[in-house]
Amino acid sequence: MSRTVTIDPVTRIEGHARITLTLGDDGQVNDARFHLTQFRGFEKFCEGRPYREMPALTARTCGICPVSHILASNKACDHLLSVTIPPTAEKLRRVMNLAQITQSHALSFFHLSSPDLLLGWDADPASRNIFGVMRQDPALARDGIRLRQIGQTIIEMLGGKKIHPTWVVPGGVSAPLDATKRDAILALLPEGLEVAKRTYAFYKTLVPRFVDEVRHFGTQPTLFLSLVSPKGHLEHYDGLLRIKDAKGNIVEDMVPAIEYGRLIGEAAEDWSYMKFPYYKPLGYPGGIYRVGPLARLNNADACGTPFADVALAEFRMLQDRGPVASSFHYHYARLVEIIYALEMMQRLLEEPDILDARVRARARSNRDEGIGVAEAPRGTLMHHYRIDDNGLITWVNLIIATGHNNLAMNQSIRQVAEAYVDGNRMQEGMLNRVEAVIRCYDPCLSCASHAFGEMPLAIELADAAGNVVDRLSRG
C-alpha cells in the first residue's frame, strides 16, 4: 500500500512550502514533490498600474531580496524608456546589487544552513538552529551578523533605507553618490573581505566531512543558466545569457537577455503555485536547468577579481572534470560570490567617475514592451512588462530565480529521499536531509514576511486512505 510522508512546513527557508514523499509497499520512495503553498498573484494585480510603479510594487514580492526586484524591474523600465542609463548609474546599481548578494548569501549560509553544516543532520532538532551554532562557534555567528550588517549598511547608504529603497529609478538612480558615503562604504569593505575569506577558509575544512551528502544532494545532470559578461566572466547585473550542459559544453552563448523567451518555456503543475521553467529546445521536463551561485560559477570563465579567482579555481577542483554537479556545493559557491562581491564593490567605488552627478536618463515610454534581467542572489531574475499607450501595465511575466530551480529542486529531493529515507522507520535526521537539499538552493518563495507565530514542523506518515500511521513533530 502506498504511503505519503509530508514535511510541512519546510523550515529554515524563505517562505512557505511543503514536501511530500510517496512511498511504495517496500517503504522506498516512489515520488517526491516540493509544493509551493502560498499564492501571491503579483503578475495579475500589477495589471492596470502605471509602469513607473512597478519597481516599488514588485519589490514587495520579497523582504529579503527586494533590491533584486528593484533592479530587474527598473531595467525593464529602462527598456520601456529605450534609454541607456549613464555609466555611473550603472556602476552604482551594480554596487547595490553586490551588497544585496553579500547580505543575502550571508543570511543563507550562516543563519539558515550552518546549523546543519556545523551541528550535523542528525543533531537534536531542538538545538539544531542558530542558537546551537552560536553556542558551538560564536565567532562564526558573529561573522555572519557582521557580513549581513555590512551588506545592509551599504544598501542603506546608497538607497536611504535597508529594505525597499527607492533610490534606483527608471533611467538610472535618483541621486549621485557623495564622497563621504563612498569613503564610508570603502571603509567597510576590508573588514567584510577578511570575514568572507576567514569563513571561506573555515568552510573548506568542513567540506571533506560531507562526502556522502555531496554524492546525493542533487547531482542530477542538468543545464546551467546564468548571465555572463561579454568576456564570459561572472556577471550579476547585466550581460548576456549562457547555458552550459552537464558536461560543460556551451549550448547557448551571448544571448541578449531580452531574448529569454526563445530559450525558456514555462510549465505548470496542479500541485504547486510555482511555475516550472524549462529550456525550450529540450522540452518539458527534459529541459531541466539550474540557476544561482552554482550555475554562475560553472558558467563563468573567470570571476575577474583576485581572491575570487583563486577561490573559483579551488571550486572547480571539487570535481575531477566538468561543471560542479552537486547542489550541495551551492554553499561553497555562495562563499566565493561573497568574496567576489566585496572585491568588486571596492573596484567599482574606486572608479574615477563614481561620484559623477549625471546618474539619470529621462524619457517617456518609447516602446510597449520592456524586459529586465539581473542576477539575484538565488539566480537569474526576469521581469517582462507590456504597457498600453497611457503607460499602464497590460501584462506581466516574472520568472524568479527559485522558479528556474523548481524542476531541479524536485529532482533533488527525490534523490535525497531515495538515498536516506526508509519509510519503514522514519527518523528525523532523514527528513532533515530532505529539507537540507532544498536549503542548498536557498529558495525564496515569494516571501513577504508573513511569519505569524510559531512555525512548527509536522511530518506525517499516512496510508493511501489518509490514515496517519506515524508522526514526528518539532517546534
Binding site: R12, I145, K161, K162, C447, A451
Partner: protein
C-alpha cells in the same frame, strides 16, 4: 505588527556609522498595512523632537538579525510595535527578557526577545528592554494612515516611550 508585512521606510534612523547610542528605540511594522504603521510612525515622531543625550531612534519594517550587534552596544532598548490583541487603542508597556526558545524558522523576522537572546549568547550581554504596543483596529491596506483609534493611541505610546527613555540609565 510583530509579524511584519512588507515595507517600511527608515524614518528617523540614525546615520550609519554614527557613534553608538546607549539607548535605542526601534519602531517597527509595515507602513502600508494600516495600524501596523504605528511603530515606525511613533519612531518618526519621536525622532522629530528633542531626545535625551545618548538616545538613538530607528524605524524598521521588520526586526532582522544584524540588529543584534546594535542592541548589544546599548544599555536599554525600547521596541515600539502594533498588536492585533487587546482593545483597539490600548497601549501596553512590558519589560522583555531574552528567550532563546523563540528561534525563528525563517530569517524574515525576529521576535524582540529572540534578538535579545542573540545578544546574550553572542556578545555576553543584553540590554534591558521594553516593548510598547498599541492595539490596532485595522490592518488593511493603507499607506501611513492610522485608524482614529490608533491615531489616539500614538500619543499615549509616545508619552510612555518618553517616560522610559528619560529615566536614568540602568548604570546611573
Amino acid at each position: 505588527m510583530a509579524a511584519g508585512a512588507p515595507a517600511s521606510p527608515a524614518a528617523g534612523s540614525a546615520t550609519p556609522g554614527a557613534a553608538a547610542a546607549r539607548t535605542l528605540v526601534i519602531g517597527y511594522g509595515s507602513p502600508i498595512r494600516g495600524d501596523d504603521a504605528i511603530g515606525p510612525l511613533a519612531a518618526e515622531a519621536l525622532a522629530a523632537g528633542p531626545l535625551p543625550e545618548g538616545v538613538r531612534v530607528e524605524a524598521r519594517h521588520i526586526l532582522t538579525a544584524e540588529l543584534a550587534e546594535d542592541l548589544a552596544a546599548c544599555d536599554r532598548v525600547v521596541f515600539l510595535d502594533a498588536t492585533a490583541a487587546g482593545e483597539p487603542g490600548a497601549v501596553r508597556v512590558r519589560e522583555l527578557a531574552a528567550d532563546a526558545g523563540l528561534a525563528s524558522s525563517m530569517a524574515h523576522f525576529h521576535d524582540p526577545r529572540e534578538l535579545l537572546a542573540w545578544c546574550a549568547t553572542l556578545y555576553g550581554r543584553a540590554p534591558r528592554a521594553w516593548l510598547v504596543t498599541a492595539a490596532g483596529e485595522s490592518f488593511d491596506y493603507a499607506s501611513y494612515c492610522l485608524s482614529p483609534c490608533a491615531s489616539a493611541a500614538l500619543h499615549s505610546m509616545l508619552a510612555q516611550t518618553r517616560r522610559l527613555i528619560e529615566r536614568a540609565p540602568p548604570d546611573a
